[in-house]
Amino acid sequence: MSTKVKKMLFILSKATIENAYAAFIMANGARMEGIESEIFFTFFGLEAIQKEKLEHLHVATVGNPAMHIPTMLGGLPGVEAFATKMMKKEMEKLDMPPVDEFLEILSDSGCKLWGCKLAVDMFHLEKEDLIDELDGIITIGDFYNRANQEGTHLLFI
C-alpha cells in the first residue's frame, strides 16, 4: 500500500443525511483500503446513532444553496420530506445502505463507533437510546488518545 494515511478519525457533529453519509462513506472507504477508521458522534451527530431517530435523518432544504430551490420554498411543509425521499431513492439505486445497515457494516468492518459523553449528557440520553454497535461513550480527550500512531488524520464534519 502506497498511502501514508494509516488511521482516519472522524468527528460527526451534524445529522443531515449528506453529512452522515459523508462520514460513513469515508470511514468505510478507509477500511476497504486497509486503513483504520473511527467515528466520534457529537452534538446533532448523535441523531445518527439514536435507535429511534436514525431512520429519520433529513437532507437540509433551507439554507442550502446547492438544492437550487428558493430558500422560502425549502421551508414549506413537506418539501424537506420530499427532497429526502428523492435523495434516498437515488442512494438506493447506487446500492447505498440505509443508516442502520451502514452502521452495522461499519462496525463489522472494524470501524470503531463512539458517542460523545458531553453531548450524551446534554441531550439526556442513556446508553439504551443508542445503537447496540456503539463501542462506548467517551470524552473528546479519550478520542484524541485514539490518534496513537503516525499517519493518523482527524476530520470534523
Binding site: G29, M32, E33, G34, D95, M96, D108
Partner: protein, 102 residues
C-alpha cells in the same frame, strides 16, 4: 506489463491485477495470495468463486453485496483478507479491482 507467476508470463496492470481472466488458475491465485501473505483455505476459495461469479455476470462488487451474499459475513471477510479485503480478494480472483466507493 508481464509478470512471472508460477513460471508463467501473466499480463497484469501496474497494481498487479490480471488483465486476462483466462490466464487465471488456482496456482496463479495461490501465488498472488502468498504475496499478500494469505494462505488459501476452503473458505477463501468459496469467496473467490463468489467474486468470479459476480464478475462473469457483470454485477458490481461492494461490501454490501458481500454482506448479502450468503457466502461469508463482513467480519469473516476482513479476517480472511486483512488490509483491504475486496481489493485483495479481487486481485487473487484474477478480476479487475472494483470501482465502487462502497
Amino acid at each position: 506489463m508481464k509478470k512471472l507467476i508460477v513460471n508463467r508470463e501473466i499480463d497484469v496492470n501496474e497494481e498487479g491485477y490480471l488483465l486476462e481472466f483466462k490466464q487465471w488458475d488456482r496456482e496463479v491465485s495461490e501465488c498472488i495470495a502468498g504475496e499478500c501473505e494469505i494462505v488459501m483455505t476452503e473458505k477463501h476459495w468459496e469467496v473467490i468463486e463468489y467474486i468470479q461469479d459476480k464478475h462473469l455476470k457483470e454485477e458490481p462488487l461492494s461490501i454490501r453485496g458481500i454482506k448479502k451474499s450468503g457466502v461469508i459475513n463482513i467480519k469473516e471477510f476482513y479476517n480472511l483478507f486483512p488490509g483491504g479485503p475486496l481489493k485483495k480478494a479481487t486481485m487473487i480472483a484474477g478480476v479487475p479491482k472494483p470501482k465502487s466507493c462502497i
